[in-house]
C-alpha cells in the first residue's frame, strides 16, 4: 500500500505541471466565460497530450490507468486551470454500446474536441423517472424522424452531435421501447434555447425541441430497444471515482478561502466551523477517490457503489458552498456562484433521493 505517486505517475505529474505553468491562466474558471471557452480548453489540453488519458488508444486516448485522470484533476485544480472536460459518460456510453463503425466515426472527434457533443436524456416530464420519456423516433425509410423535448442538455448551443434517447416502440414495456441515436444538431427541425440557472449562468444548459429532425437508421447505438441499457451505463459512469473530477477543486476552494482569513495558520486564529468542516470533507474525498481507484485495480466494478460516492461528493461540494458563504459572504460574486452552483450537485446526474433508493435497494436489500 502506498498513497504516493509511482515513478511513472510522478514523471507525468511534473510534465503536466510544467505545461500548466505556461498555459493554465489563459482560460476562465467559472461563469459564462468559462462555459463559452470550454471547447478551446478541451482542444488545448488534448493537443498537449493531457486529455483522454484512460481511454482507448485506437480512438485517440492513451490507455492509461484511471489514476492518471485523478492526477490530471489535481494538477488542474492546483494550477488554477479549468476542470477536465466532462465527457467520460458519453465516451463510455458510445464505446460500450455502439458498433465498431460508429465508434471509429465518432469517438476520435469526441475525445480530441474537434466535434462537440451533448446528451439528450432528460425531458420536462421525465426527470428521475427517465424511462417515462416521451420523445419519439419513428422509422421513415432509412431514417428515423424525431419529435419531442429535451431539457438539462449541457452544451446544446455549441454541440455538433447529440447522444439521444427516444422511444422507438410505444407498444413495448416502457424500459424496452427506448433506443439511442447519434443525431446531428445541425439541421432544421431542432431548436435550442438556453436555460438560466440560479447562479445566473446561461451557457451551461439548454432546452432542445426536436420537431421532425432526422437521423439515419445507421446512427442507432446498439439495437432497437437497447436505449435503457445504454442509459444505465451512462448514468453509472457519471458516478465512477475517477470521474469525481471536482474533488481536487473543492480542496482548492477551501485553501483559497482559508488564505482570506486574518491571522496565520496554526497561531490560534479562529476559522469558521463551516470552513474547517469543508476542509475535513475534502480530505475525506481525496482519500475516498484513492480507495475506490484501488478497488478498481482489483477488478471491482462499481455499480450501485457509485451512488455512495455521489452522495459523499455532493455533501462535500455543498459543505464547501456553505464555507464560501461563511468566509466571503453573498457580496462576493465567486463565493455566491460557488454556493448557488453547489445546490445543483444533489440533483444532476441523479438526485440524492434516487441515489438513496439505489443504495437501499441494490446494496442494503431493503426493497421498496
Amino acid at each position: 500500500m502506498d498513497y504516493r505517486d509511482s515513478p511513472g505517475e510522478a514523471e507525468f505529474r511534473s510534465r503536466l505541471r510544467d505545461w500548466l505553468a505556461r498555459h493554465a491562466r489563459e482560460f476562465a474558471l467559472s461563469g459564462d466565460e468559462y462555459w463559452s471557452r470550454y471547447g478551446d480548453w478541451h482542444r488545448a489540453l488534448y493537443g498537449a497530450g493531457f486529455f483522454g488519458l484512460s481511454w482507448p488508444r485506437e480512438y485517440g486516448g492513451q490507455d492509461r490507468p484511471p489514476v492518471y485522470d485523478v492526477i490530471l484533476d489535481e494538477e488542474l485544480a492546483a494550477a488554477g486551470a479549468p476542470p477536465r472536460p466532462s465527457l467520460g459518460y458519453l465516451v463510455t456510453g458510445l464505446g460500450h454500446h455502439g458498433s465498431k463503425e460508429l465508434c471509429r466515426r465518432f469517438l476520435p472527434g469526441m475525445i480530441s474536441g474537434t466535434e462537440r457533443w451533448c446528451q439528450g436524456f432528460s425531458e420536462p416530464g421525465a426527470g428521475s423517472d427517465l424511462a417515462s420519456l416521451a420523445t419519439t423516433a419513428v422509422r421513415d425509410d432509412d431514417a428515423y424522424v424525431v419529435r419531442g423535448q429535451k431539457i438539462w442538455t449541457s452544451y446544446s448551443d455549441v454541440a455538433d452531435w447529440c447522444l439521444l434517447l427516444a422511444r422507438t416502440d410505444p407498444a413495448a414495456p416502457r424500459h424496452q421501447g427506448l433506443s439511442a441515436f447519434v443525431i446531428s444538431m445541425h439541421q432544421p427541425g431542432i431548436e435550442q434555447r438556453p436555460l438560466t440557472m440560479i447562479s445566473g449562468v446561461s451557457t451551461e444548459f439548454g432546452q432542445v425541441t426536436f420537431d421532425g429532425a432526422r437521423v439515419p437508421a445507421g446512427n442507432m447505438v446498439g439495437a432497437p430497444g437497447d436505449g435503457w441499457k445504454l442509459a444505465m451505463t451512462v448514468v453509472s459512469h457519471e458516478r465512477e471515482p475517477s470521474t469525481l473530477g471536482f474533488t481536487a477543486r473543492y480542496g482548492k476552494t477551501v485553501r483559497t478561502l482559508a488564505a482570506r482569513l486574518p491571522g496565520e495558520p496554526g497561531e490560534g486564529r479562529t476559522i469558521p466551523s463551516e470552513l474547517a468542516w469543508a476542509h475535513v470533507q475534502t480530505q475525506m474525498l481525496y482519500a475516498h477517490v484513492r480507495r475506490r481507484l484501488a478497488e478498481q485495480m482489483d477488478g471491482q466494478t462499481h455499480g450501485p457503489q457509485g451512488s455512495l460516492d455521489k452522495l459523499l461528493m455532493t455533501w462535500t461540494e455543498q459543505a464547501v458552498g456553505h464555507a464560501a458563504l461563511a468566509v466571503a459572504g453573498t457580496g462576493d460574486a465567486a463565493a455566491l456562484e460557488a454556493y448557488l452552483y453547489s445546490r445543483a450537485q444533489s440533483v444532476m446526474g441523479g438526485t440524492s433521493q434516487i441515489q438513496k433508493n439505489i443504495i437501499a435497494d441494490r446494496i442494503l436489500g431493503l426493497g421498496g
Partner: protein, 297 residues
C-alpha cells in the same frame, strides 16, 4: 499510487472479524456471560494482537484489527494494551492511562501515559464499569512516576496512532450498529410491510452507509500516514480522520437507534452499546473541529 490492502492485511482483517463474530456479545445479556468472556480473552491472548506493534505491524494493521473488534463489540482489552505496547514494549498487564484513568483496565496492573516526550507509569486501581459497557476503566492507584523518555518523532507518531486506532474503533462500532439496524428494518413490519421498504427508514440507512464508506477511506489514509508520512503530517491526517469519523459514527448510531424505534431506546437493544463505544472513543484522544486549522495553509 495504490491504496489496496495487501493479502496479509486482508487476512488479518478476516481473522479479527471471524473472532469478533464468534465470541463477541450478541446481546446485552451476553455481556455478563463469563464463560464467553473467558473464551474471548483466551482467543485474543492467543492471537498476539496486543503486541502487534512490537511485532512490526503498521498503523493500517492495528486499525484493521481495532475496527473489526469494535464492530463485534469485543469486550476484552485491545486498544489499551496495544497502545501501551506501541509506546514501550511492556508485556501483559499494561494498559494506557488517559487523563488520570486507565482505559481497558480489566486484568491490567500498570498504566503507561505520555506527557510530551516523557513516559509516566502508575499502578491501576480497582476496575469499574464505565460509560462504554464493553470496556472497563479504573482510577490510577498512585501518582504517575517518570518512566523514561522517548524521541519526539516516536511520541508524535504514537499520538497519531492513538488518534487513528480510536477512530478505527468508532468506524467498526458504526458498521456494527448499521448492520443491526438494516437487519431490523427487514424484519420489523408496520402497516403490513417491512419498515425498510419505506423511504423514511431506507434513506437514513443509505446515508449512514455513505458515511461509513467515507470513514473507511479517511481512516485508511490516516492509518497509512502514521508510518509513511512525516510525523507532523501523520498527526494532521489522524486529526482529520478522527473529526470525520466521530461525527459520522455518532450519526450512524443515532440512526440505528431511531430505526429501532421504541425498542432502540431500551437497555436490552444492542444499539446503545455501539453508540456508547463511539461516544467514549471520541473522548479518548479527542480532536475538536477547532483544532483543524493546522491543516490549512
Amino acid at each position: 499510487m495504490d491504496a489496496r490492502l495487501t493479502a496479509e492485511q486482508a487476512s488479518l482483517r478476516a481473522a479479527a472479524a471471524g473472532l469478533a463474530d464468534k465470541l463477541g456479545p450478541h446481546s446485552v445479556l451476553a455481556l455478563s456471560d463469563t464463560k464467553r468472556a473467558v473464551q474471548l480473552e483466551q482467543a485474543i491472548t492467543g492471537s498476539g494482537w496486543r503486541s502487534l506493534r512490537t511485532d512490526g505491524a503498521s498503523g493500517v494493521e492495528l486499525a484493521l484489527v481495532a475496527e473489526e473488534l469494535a464492530r463485534g463489540l469485543v469486550d476484552v482489552p485491545f486498544l489499551g494494551p496495544v497502545l501501551a505496547d506501541a509506546l514501550r514494549p511492556s508485556g501483559p498487564g499494561t494498559t494506557i492511562a488517559v487523563g488520570l484513568r486507565a482505559i481497558d483496565a480489566r486484568g491490567a496492573t500498570r498504566a503507561l501515559a505520555l506527557e510530551g516526550t516523557r513516559l509516566l507509569t502508575a499502578p491501576v486501581g480497582p476496575p469499574a464499569r464505565g460509560t462504554d459497557l464493553t470496556r472497563v476503566v479504573a482510577p490510577l492507584a498512585g501518582p504517575p512516576q517518570p518512566a523514561g523518555e522517548i524521541s519526539a518523532a516516536h511520541a508524535t507518531r504514537w499520538r497519531a496512532l492513538a488518534v487513528c486506532v480510536t477512530a478505527a474503533e468508532m468506524v467498526g462500532a458504526a458498521r456494527g450498529a448499521h448492520a443491526l439496524a438494516v437487519g431490523y428494518a427487514k424484519v420489523r413490519t408496520q402497516y403490513g410491510r417491512p419498515i425498510g421498504s419505506y423511504q423514511a427508514i431506507s434513506h437514513p440507512l443509505a446515508e449512514a452507509l455513505a458515511l461509513i464508506e467515507g470513514c473507511e477511506s479517511v481512516l485508511r489514509y490516516a492509518a497509512w500516514a502514521v508510518d509513511e508520512l512525516r510525523p507532523a503530517e501523520a498527526v494532521k491526517a489522524a486529526r482529520i480522520a478522527k473529526v470525520y469519523c466521530a461525527r459520522a459514527a455518532r450519526t450512524v448510531c443515532e440512526t440505528a437507534i431511531q430505526v429501532h424505534g421504541g425498542i432502540g431506546n431500551t437497555w436490552e437493544c444492542l444499539a446503545h452499546l455501539f453508540l456508547r463505544r463511539v461516544l467514549v472513543c471520541a473522548e479518548t484522544f479527542p480532536v475538536r473541529l477547532e483544532e483543524i486549522d493546522v491543516g490549512l495553509p
